[in-house]
Amino acid sequence: MRYVFKTSYDADIRLFKHNAQAFWYLLLLTVAVLLPFFINDFLIGEATLVLIWAICGMGLMLLVGQTGQASLGHAAFMAIGAYSNVLYQQYFSLPFLLSFPLSGLTAALAGALIAMPTTRLHGIYLAIATLAISVLADDLIVMLEPITGGVAGLFAPDIEVFGYVINRYGNPNELYWLVLLITLAVVLIYRNLLRSPTGRAFAAVRDSEVSARAMGVNVARTKMIAFAISCFITGLGGALMGHFATIFTNETFNLIMSITLLLMIVIGGLGTIHGAFFGAMVVVFLPLLISVTRDSVTSALGMSSVTVPGIENGVFGAILIGFILFEPMGIYGRWVKIRTYFELFPFYRKDMFRRQKSYLKTERSR
């Protein structure tokens, strides 16, 4: 077990706890950058998708894991990102470098506006209100057919950066690197927020609104900022998803997607950046794993290939139930436990991560 001997206040401020940690993350980054040289185009596409899901997941994580506000409507903000990105390019012929951040800002603005009335709600009521937003977004896209293309959908043009054209099928590696760069930027923004007053205000609102107020945190404003930043990040993810899907409709960003996003971050590990990435891997690779398993099983049994409708959602649901019952801290929580086991070997105790029951809380004066 490494003990960090702190000699300056910067030890609590800097991004990496110690040099070894910085080394491992740099190694991970190097592997991520060099990935296209080792795997084929199909897998690079899947890796890109993982990163896009992770961006969307980080957006939701900031709201759910950090600020403690449930949202069952985040696919709506992905849709806003995806549609506004393409529409800015189409109608105002803005370049991708402008339309992309603008699409995030558009989603952020929508999020902030929606946050104004909804953040007065708590728990299940907030979940229902955001659920309604997801349903509403679906309908709005269909109703605004002249602009959005309705059920026929919208075609995302190739990404053009400084005259360099990036097409998902034409040059998947370049798309992957672009998405990786954006992912890195989002991770950095996320980490920066966590180590500054805003991030601590988020945690304060999550853990105790009444004492957050007593500490001078403007709870309503903090929730609105959380919604705005969360929707900004998710909107960026949505815009990338639009380019990745090349054609998208109201069905692309439906209610199921909202729920998948939420399940994803719970399975990955609530309240951690790692959780968004682990969850994204589950979301992307699970369907792959299921189809590979099905093929090998059916061929081993000598049967013709059969498809079981809804099996992906079924397995996904079963995994979620398993996690909530046995590992509420998600995949990242399991990873931390395994790591600690080896770090402390042989002194790891079974209940090390068990949370002590919290003491009686003051009646919430909401």
Partner: protein
């Protein structure tokens, strides 16, 4: 000089009059204690001062200005910090992060500069960190700096909560039962800290406390309440010997302490 002044404050919850026409003032630099049986309205007075409740009648002045125009989250900025009777810490955060939340009112950066972690943000973080370190030193919390609140024993949480209020660097500190649930030794520590908060830091203390031993050892003045009304005000000895106070503690005929212990 009056730091805090309550003028004829009344608060009703439906038909129940929780606080009835209470007036008192807290002088700068003193330790003022509120005592009384359960349901006397002590915590309700605290919640009015921190603006969680709005009095139906009367006015509350702090540094000569009415605080009724301010919202709850403005109160720490004015210079009033508080703790809670049933610890209200941020459970899923470390001790350090909890204390740093206390520095929130001293932050001058916005979320955009923080997202980019501009040099001004870093500089501010260092200053916050230093201010918090002084609190950690004062309350001997060094061993718990990076521990999560969720795993800390009750006594330590109580101290962390006091530290979080001190990190605000207030003029007036409201302590809601600082010694409840603490052992004799821990209560003694609290008594020393309250002394130091008054003498060294120059912070005025208003506290609610049931432990009469602690109250009489640290407070300059005491006010006794029962059923939302003021019974008696004066030095700890005067209040303890007031017949009205003795009568208010039902089941006891000699001293308030016995009534409290029951």
């Amino acid at each position: 000089m009056n730091l805090l002044e309550l003028r004829n404050v009344t608060l009703r919850f439906g038909g129940l009059v929780a606080v009835n026409d209470v007036s008192f003032s807290v002088e700068e630099g003193e330790v003022f204690a509120l005592v009384g049986p359960n349901g006397a309205g002590k915590s309700t007075i605290f919640n009015m001062i921190s603006r969680f409740y709005t009095p139906a009648q009367g006015d509350i002045h702090f540094k000569g200005q009415s605080i009724l125009d301010h919202q709850a989250h403005d109160i720490p900025r004015l210079g009033i910090a508080r703790t809670f009777q049933n610890i209200e810490l941020f459970e899923q955060a470390s001790v350090l992060q909890n204390l740093l939340v206390g520095r929130h009112t001293h932050s001058r950066t916005n979320f955009l500069s923080e997202a980019l972690f501009l040099p001004s943000v870093r500089e501010q973080e260092r200053r916050h960190r230093e201010a918090v370190e002084q609190v950690i030193d004062f309350l001997d919390l060094q061993a718990y700096r990076d521990k999560m609140i969720g795993g800390l024993p009750y006594g330590v949480r109580k101290v962390v909560e006091m530290g979080r209020a001190l990190a605000i660097q207030p003029n007036l500190l409201l302590l809601d039962e600082p010694a409840s649930g603490l052992s004799v030794e821990e209560t003694q520590d609290v008594a020393f800290w309250i002394e130091d908060i008054k003498r060294v830091m120059g912070i005025t203390v208003l506290m609610v406390e049931h432990d009469m031993h602690l109250v009489s050892s640290v407070s300059d003045r005491v006010m006794a309440l029962a059923d939302g009304r003021m019974l008696s005000i004066g030095t700890p000895q005067e209040v303890q010997n007031d017949p009205a106070v003795i009568e208010a503690y039902i089941g006891s005929s000699d001293s308030p302490e016995d009534g409290e212990a029951a």
